[in-house]
Every structure is written in structure tokens, then in C-alpha cells.
């Protein structure tokens, strides 16, 4: 024993003991089993691509929100008791306001650094939702939601939805004129629910609007319930990212069976860890320079007061657009009112989100693909999916425009009625146009890729031939490029099979199967993709010393 330990540890260590760090790790391993965990993850490989950072931005802004949010709870009073303001913001002195509003003023004007943390918190929330949105689009357009990642797609989607509601309950807390107007809108929307709406509203607000309860209730939802669920989902999301290993784009040496990149330790510890500080630093600088939600300029909430240009935070804008564009339909019957003008938008609001969340499962059904996919698609190589995604974004943006129809009218000197009518029509038409245009663009890009593979890259070198003709010299692609451009898979559309069975009896084809075959044709039929260049085509063109 003693001789082996002396020889293996050498003279550099005093008294033959392992260094403190190692002893600590040994202690932890004996209780937590950290060595097995580290064995699998310390040198875990992550591929590199700029678009893989988007999810990181979301993660880091979430951490920033939690850190700053905890600080804000130390000073914020979630109470609607009316108090007279005597703080240092002179224009509001002597005014009646809720304690929530007064304590937000104190955070902004009397707590040193309070305004900064408030602004970081709010800016980080906007960045968080934006980053989740863009990250979700990256995953969508590269097909990274396919098996085995469908569950993680749903976790991410839930995070986005919960993030929206955490944001809404958060910006409603200061009880200022703008956010109170938003809460009133929510109350009106709840009232529109048939049969139970009035009861829901009374239970939520503890009686008639605005009552004296909603700030305290929103507070516990905003700081405990929703973030608690979200934290769990974030952890699950990350565990699955580790477990599945990250997707990568096709390229030389990058296959569906490996992951090529750099190890977590040290490269991604430094890069990702450093990126957290970059995100935090940039958001701090924004919070230092760009004011956000100046509640003192809006004043405390009064249900009989309002200002023009009232807008929710951006991620709620599309629901605002729905409610603004919807015609005011109301049906009265048997002593009851069906408030379709508000209830229909309230129903479409979650459906818009569910539409994108459900897409991976629809695509899996159409393609019938049960294999694991770890190679991220280039969006052009999945034209139908890309077109669906762009159509959805277009839909979303149309609703956002609707949510700001007053601002579009005043900034571009348009009639508010015209903007609203544009939104009403574009809600139905714009996604269809976007779908068609996107699909054409994708097919065009596929043709261009094929052209590049077969004829090489345009060099821009113009050459004059002996007989006077001018031609452009094309440079053949390298093997790496040829492989990357043709690595994607192409499927044949699903066939319905014969319409009669082996006995000549007409086979009943279920409507579901017909629909599936039709969709499959749209995905993989003639109009769905450009056939990849084949070996023969390439050989024919490149044989004979470049004559073709």
C-alpha cells in the first residue's frame, strides 16, 4: 500500500494526499456518483453553428430574469391597498395609488440600482420571448423536431406559452394605467366565455373588476407557480438535449450516426459560459440606455382613464390583433348573449399556437417516417415544411400588425379602418400567398443547388473563345461541397395501392389514407421537390473533358 501510493503520487504532493479538489470530488462521488456523470458529459461533443446559439440566448435571459426577479421581490409590495404617494417622484406626490404602484415607484426612484434591475428584468423578458420564438423557428425550419426530439419540441413550446403568461402577469403587477388597461381587456375576454365567463371573472378578481385582489394573485402566479413549472421544463429540456445529443448539418464526416464538434470541457464551457456573460452584459447596457415601461409617466390605474397607443408587450401583440380585427358579432337569444366578437378571438388565440406545436406530428404522420433524425435539414430541402412555417409566421405577423393597427395608421398616415380591413383579409389570404411563394423559392434554390453540382460554381471569369464567343468559366465543386449539397434524403410520395384487392373486389380506401396520399404527394411529388442530381447525370456532364 504505502509503497504504491508513494510511487504513484510522487514527491510533488506533501504527505501522499491527493490535491484538495480531487479529495472534494472523491467525497462528492462517494455520495452523488459524480464521476459516472462526468465520464459521460465532461468531454461531450457539441456541433457548432450560429443558429444553435438562439436557444442559449433564451436560457441565459431566463436565468437573468430569475436573478433580477428575486431582487425585485425584496422591494415590491403586491398589494392593492390605496395609499397616498409621498416618495421622491414629485409629479405624483399626494396622488392616490395602490401599494403595488407606489412600491414600483420606490424601486424606480428611491432604491439605488432598483430602476436598473427593473429595466434589466423587463428587457430580459422581451429578449427571452423573442429568443424562444426564433429558436423555435430554427428548430422548425431545420426539421430538428423530428424523432427522437418531438417531446422536447413540446417542452419548448410549453415554455414559450408559459413565458407569454408569465410576462403578462408580470407586467400587470405595477398596477399602472397601461397594464391595468390590459387586465381590463383580459377581464372583458373572460366575460365573453359562454355560461361560465361571468363566474370565472368574479372568481379571478375576487368580485367585480378591478377589485382588490388581482395584483396579489397575479404575483403568486408570476413569481412562483409559472416560473416553478418553467424551471422544471427548462431542466427537462436541457437533459433531453444532452441525452439526444445535438443535431448537426450534413457535411463531410458528419452523419446521422455521429456528432462532430468540440468538447464541453473546455471549449463549450468557455464559449457557452462566456456567452451567458455576453447576453447579460448586452441586456444590462440596453437597460442602462433604453427606458422601458416608464410607469411613472402613465400613472396609477383608473378604470375610467386611458391613453392612446396602448400596446401590450410584443409577444401578446398577436392576441391583441385578433381582438382588434374581429367584427363585433353578438348573438342574443333566450335572455343570453353569445359574445362571438370576443369569444372567437379568445379561441383562435391558443389555436394559433397549437397549430405550430402540432405540426411535427402531422408531418410524421404524412411521411410515415419512424427513423431517428440527427441531421438538420436545410430549409430549401423541405419545401412544404418551410412553406408551412413561413405561412405561419406570416399569419402571426399579420395579427401583430392588427395589434398595432393604430400605430400603423398614425405612423404611415393610413386610415385605421383601412388597416383593420387589410388585417381582416390578410388573416386568410396572406398565409396562402406566403406558402406558395416560399415553396417556389425553395424549389428554385434546389434547382440552383443541382445546377451547382452538375455544372460547378460560377467563377465570374469571362473567357473569349477563338471564334469570338464569350463564356463564363465554371469551377467544379470540391468533393466536400458535392457531398454536402446532395447529402439530403428524398422520399417518394406514399402510394395508395391498387384500388381493387387480389380477388378483383373494389378495395375501400379510407378517407384518412386518401388525405395522407394527397399530402404526401404535395410533400414529395413532382411539385414538392427537385430530384437530386444522379450519378449518371453527373458522369454524362463531366465526361468528355468538360464538353456538355
Amino acid at each position: 500500500m504505502s509503497t504504491t501510493s508513494a510511487s504513484s503520487h510522487g514527491e510533488s504532493r506533501s504527505r501522499g494526499k491527493a490535491p484538495a479538489g480531487e479529495r472534494l470530488a472523491d467525497w462528492a462521488d462517494g455520495r452523488l456518483g459524480i464521476y459516472s456523470l462526468a465520464k459521460a458529459n465532461l468531454r461531450k461533443i457539441f456541433p457548432d453553428h450560429w443558429s444553435f446559439m438562439l436557444g442559449e440566448v433564451a436560457l441565459y435571459s431566463f436565468i437573468i430574469i430569475i436573478l433580477t426577479g428575486v431582487y425585485l421581490t425584496l422591494f415590491f409590495h403586491p398589494s392593492m391597498n390605496e395609499v397616498e404617494y409621498h416618495g421622491s417622484y414629485v409629479p405624483l406626490q399626494g396622488q392616490l395609488m395602490s401599494e403595488a404602484f407606489a412600491s414600483t415607484l420606490d424601486i424606480s426612484f428611491d432604491v439605488r440600482g432598483g430602476l436598473l434591475i427593473r429595466q434589466i428584468h423587463h428587457w430580459a423578458a422581451l429578449v427571452f420571448l423573442a429568443a424562444m420564438f426564433v429558436h423555435m423557428m430554427r428548430v422548425f425550419f431545420t426539421g430538428a423536431f423530428r424523432k427522437p426530439r418531438e417531446v422536447n419540441w413540446l417542452f419548448g413550446f410549453l415554455l414559450f406559452v408559459l413565458g407569454m403568461f408569465t410576462g403578462f402577469t408580470g407586467y400587470s403587477l405595477p398596477d399602472d394605467l397601461l397594464s391595468g388597461t390590459g387586465v381590463r381587456f383580459m377581464e372583458g375576454a373572460i366575460l365573453s366565455v359562454p355560461i361560465v365567463g361571468t363566474y370565472l371573472s368574479f372568481f379571478l378578481f375576487g368580485g367585480e373588476f378591478p377589485g382588490g385582489d388581482f395584483v396579489a394573485r397575479f404575483y403568486s402566479v408570476h413569481i412562483l407557480l409559472l416560473p416553478g413549472i418553467m424551471l422544471g421544463l427548462v431542466v427537462a429540456h436541457l437533459i433531453l438535449v444532452f441525452y439526444h445529443k445535438h443535431t448537426q448539418f450534413a457535411g463531410p464526416g458528419r452523419t446521422n450516426k455521429n456528432v462532430v464538434g468540440m468538447p464541453l470541457m473546455p471549449v463549450y464551457m468557455a464559449k457557452a459560459g462566456g456567452f451567458f456573460f455576453l447576453v447579460f452584459g448586452v441586456i444590462s447596457a440596453i437597460a442602462a440606455l433604453v427606458q422601458i415601461n416608464p410607469i411613472w409617466a402613465m400613472g396609477p390605474y383608473r378604470p375610467d382613464q386611458v391613453s392612446t397607443g396602448a400596446q401590450p408587450d410584443w409577444y401578446m401583440g398577436f392576441s391583441e390583433g385578433l381582438i382588434r380585427a374581429m367584427p363585433g358579432w353578438e348573438i342574443n337569444f333566450a335572455g343570453h348573449t353569445l359574445v362571438l366578437g370576443v369569444f372567437i378571438p379568445l379561441v383562435i388565440f391558443p389555436l394559433v399556437l397549437v397549430a405550430i406545436a402540432a405540426y411535427p406530428f402531422i408531418e410524421a404522420w404524412v411521411t410515415g417516417d419512424k427513423r431517428e433524425h440527427h441531421i438538420a435539414d436545410r430549409p430549401r430541402n423541405a419545401p412544404t415544411r418551410t412553406a408551412v412555417g413561413v405561412a405561419w409566421i406570416t399569419w402571426y405577423v399579420v395579427m401583430l400588425i392588427g395589434g398595432g393597427n393604430d400605430l400603423f395608421a398614425t405612423h404611415f398616415h393610413l386610415s385605421i379602418n383601412a388597416v383593420t380591413w387589410f388585417v381582416r383579409i390578410a388573416f386568410f389570404v396572406a398565409p396562402v400567398i406566403a406558402f406558395i411563394v416560399t415553396k417556389r423559392i425553395c424549389l428554385g434554390l434546389q434547382r440552383r443547388d443541382k445546377d451547382k453540382v452538375l455544372h460547378g460554381r460560377e467563377t465570374g471569369i469571362i473567357k473569349r473563345l477563338p471564334h469570338g464567343e464569350f463564356i463564363e468559366v465554371h469551377e467544379p465543386l470540391s468533393q466536400e461541397q458535392l457531398y454536402s449539397l446532395t447529402a439530403h434524403e428524398q422520399h417518394a410520395p406514399a402510394e395508395l395501392g391498387p384500388t381493387v384487392d387480389e380477388n378483383g373486389v373494389e378495395r375501400k380506401i379510407k378517407r384518412k389514407d386518401k388525405l395522407r396520399a394527397k399530402l404526401s404527394k404535395g410533400y414529395f411529388g413532382e411539385d414538392g421537390q427537385i430530384a437530386k442530381p444522379t450519378v449518371e447525370e453527373y458522369k454524362e456532364i463531366t465526361s468528355g473533358h468538360g464538353h456538355h
Binding site: 461533443i45 392616490l96 439605488r112 440600482g113 430602476l115 436598473l116 429595466q119 388597461t181 381590463r184 381587456f185 377581464e187 366575460l191 361560465v196 365567463g197 361571468t198 371573472s201 372568481f203 368580485g207 367585480e208 377589485g211 441525452y243 463531410p252 464526416g253 450516426k257 456528432v259 462532430v260 464538434g261 468540440m262 462566456g274 456567452f275 452584459g281 448586452v282 441586456i283 444590462s284 442602462a288 383608473r302 375610467d304 382613464q305 386611458v306 396602448a310 381582438i323 382588434r324 363585433g328 358579432w329 348573449t337 359574445v339 362571438l340 370576443v342 431517428e372 393597427n405 393604430d406 463564356i471 468559366v473 469551377e475 467544379p476 468533393q479 437530386k532 473533358h545 468538360g546 456538355h548
Partner: protein, 355 residues
């Protein structure tokens, strides 16, 4: 477009690579016409081969970390030195709170420099050799699955849950019922609606109080084309339920030439062209505040519902579903405006029981 008729040796690639690249293209299979050439060889960075460049990178990283330390000192100094209410003019941001700006910029710099230092370190000094890791199928091998199924069957069998239906069913019943207690507990979140949304503070004889002056409104003070907001007498800002009551009782008072009033009932419910309408939008309850005196239209700034106050508060544009409720008013012996009763219908957004 095409490069026909060019001798191949004139192609740039052919010139550069001596025809090597073009010819060596390996052909793989039907699905992948071009074979995977494998990971390209690692390209060395300048820091990998030149120790002086590596030392430059080291100094850059150290400098960034040092700047971060200085910025943190700057943060603490700003916190101590700058008053919480000091304002400065900074182009192009205008007048801004000095402490907020100083704290935010120093904090931002301190954080950013840590990040920039770490990323620069990773990019220039840490190994950038790409490594390939194998992936393994997520789904378990068949024998693992078989073992799990067998274990599950054994466990379920040992519990006898399949055999003893009485236990199973009563357990499911108990588990299904126990959450009911939680739902019942939510009952006291609020009172029942009853008729609360149908009534406001207005009643016969209540004076209309100007919200700006807090004085009762005289008919003679309301000019044609003006817009006045009013509340019922007796309602005070300090009242405990002020917010709740004003959310229903707030009024818009306008005076229209009686000839211009198109709706017969509106004219009857007015006093010499002075009409009182609920200020609360019938869409989702925003207060309406934009009045166009030439057309007698009012617009809700939240969702742009537009109402015609000369035509019974009819909706002429936007998402509102029904007309604004009008309050029947008259004038008392001393010339003050007073209500002739409550609104005839509920004010504000529509709801299921509204009818």
C-alpha cells in the same frame, strides 16, 4: 452559362489542383451520389503554430478580464458617488438618470468583458480540433425491453391489481374524488355575479359631478362640441370601492344640436341636446376617450371601436358588439344635471347573462 468548348486544363480548378479534384470524385450509391469524403484535415490557427500570437491572445484575454474588474470597481464607485435622483444629458439619449446609466454601463461592461474574454480564450487558445462522437439509438435493445416487460408483469402480478378488481376500482374512485376538495376550496375566490354587473351607482335624482372640477354639472356650463367626463354625486376617490364603482358609472357628457340627434329615444333621454353615455366601451371595457365633435363619433383608443353619439351610441366601426348605453338625464330646479335612474342595460363588455 455552360463551359462547353473549353479545354479542361483551362478550368481554374484544374489549373490549381492539377485535375486532381475533378477526377477523384468518388461515386457512392443511388441515395447519395457523392461519397462522404470524411472530416477535412484540421487547419492550424496562427496561435497553434506561433507562440507569439498565442501570447498576444493571452494578453487580450487578460486585458478583457482586467477591464471587467475595473468596471466592477466603477459600478461600486458609481453606487456610492452618484445620487439616486441626479439627471444628466447624454446625446442621443436625452435627459436620463445618471445613476441608472452609470450602474448599467459598468455592470454591462464588467459582464461583457468576462464573456468576451472567455470566448476569445476558447476561440484562439483552446484546441479547435473537431472530434466525432458516436450516436447510439435512443430506443432500448429488444432484450432490455423484454426484461422491462417481464419486470413490469411480475410487479403488477405481485400487486394483484389485475385480480382484485374491488381494490382497483375503489382506489381509482378515491383518487378521482380527492381533487374535488381542492376545487371546492376555490369557491371562496370571489362572490357570485348575481345582478352585480347590471347595476351602477346611478339612481333617480343623483347629480352629475364633473370629474375635473369635482363640482356638480350645470346644464348651462355644457357647451356644444365639448366633452365632459362625469361621475355620480357621493362617489369619492377615497372610497374603498371607488375603482369598482367608477369602472361602471363613468359618463361622457356631450352637447349636440338637438336637430342633429338622429335617434328619437336619444333625444327624449337628453336635456336640450345634452346626452350622457357610458364611458366604458361595450367591447372589452376600455374607457372611451376620443371625441370627434364634427361627426359626434367617439373612438375607443384600445381597439378602435367607434360609436355615433348622435345616433343612439350605435357602433359604426370596430369590434364592439352593441351600442353604448345611454343614461337618461334631466335638469333640476337649480339648473344642475341629474340622472333619471340607472342605466337601462348593463354597461361595459357583454357577458353570457346579459341577454
Amino acid at each position: 452559362m455552360s463551359s462547353h468548348e473549353i479545354p479542361e486544363e483551362n478550368l481554374p480548378a484544374a489549373q490549381a489542383a492539377d485535375d486532381h479534384e475533378h477526377r477523384s470524385v468518388a461515386v457512392a450509391d443511388e441515395k447519395h451520389p457523392f461519397a462522404d469524403p470524411g472530416l477535412p484535415p484540421h487547419e492550424h490557427r496562427i496561435q497553434d503554430i506561433d507562440e507569439r500570437a498565442a501570447r498576444r491572445s493571452e494578453r487580450t484575454v487578460a486585458l478583457l478580464f482586467t477591464v471587467s474588474m475595473l468596471a466592477t470597481i466603477g459600478f461600486i464607485a458609481s453606487f456610492v458617488a452618484i445620487g439616486v435622483d441626479e439627471n444628466v444629458y447624454v446625446w442621443p439619449f436625452g435627459h436620463t438618470n445618471a445613476l441608472n446609466m452609470a450602474l448599467g454601463l459598468t455592470l454591462g461592461l464588467a459582464l461583457f468583458c468576462i464573456g468576451a474574454g472567455a470566448v476569445h480564450w476558447a476561440r484562439t487558445l483552446m484546441s479547435d480540433v473537431e472530434i466525432a462522437d458516436e450516436r447510439h439509438a435512443i430506443e432500448a435493445a429488444p432484450e432490455v425491453k423484454a426484461k422491462v416487460m417481464a419486470d413490469f408483469k411480475q410487479g403488477a402480478g405481485e400487486s394483484q391489481i389485475g385480480r382484485r378488481k374491488l381494490i382497483r376500482n375503489t382506489m381509482l374512485g378515491a383518487l378521482a374524488m380527492v381533487p374535488l376538495s381542492g376545487i371546492v376550496l376555490l369557491r371562496d375566490l370571489g362572490p357570485l355575479p348575481e345582478e352585480k354587473l347590471r347595476h351602477t351607482l346611478w339612481s333617480k335624482g343623483k347629480l352629475l359631478v364633473n370629474m375635473n372640477t369635482n363640482e356638480p354639472l350645470k346644464a348651462s356650463d355644457v357647451a356644444v362640441g365639448s366633452l365632459t367626463f362625469a361621475m355620480p354625486e357621493g362617489l369619492e376617490e377615497h372610497d374603498e370601492d371607488f375603482q369598482k364603482e367608477i369602472a361602471k358609472a363613468a359618463l361622457m357628457i356631450v352637447r349636440i344640436q338637438p336637430d342633429n340627434i338622429k335617434d328619437k329615444q336619444e333625444l327624449e333621454w337628453s336635456h336640450e341636446g345634452i346626452v350622457a353615455y357610458s364611458k366604458i366601451c361595450t367591447h372589452v371595457g376600455c374607457p372611451i376617450s376620443l371625441y370627434e365633435q364634427q361627426t359626434h363619433h367617439v373612438l375607443c383608443p384600445c381597439h378602435q371601436s367607434t360609436f355615433d353619439l348622435s345616433d343612439g351610441g350605435r357602433v359604426i366601426f370596430g369590434p364592439a358588439g352593441h351600442a353604448l348605453p345611454q343614461l337618461r338625464i334631466t335638469v333640476n330646479d337649480e339648473g344642475y344635471l341629474e340622472a333619471l335612474g340607472d342605466f337601462a342595460e348593463p354597461v361595459g363588455p357583454a357577458f353570457w347573462e346579459r341577454g
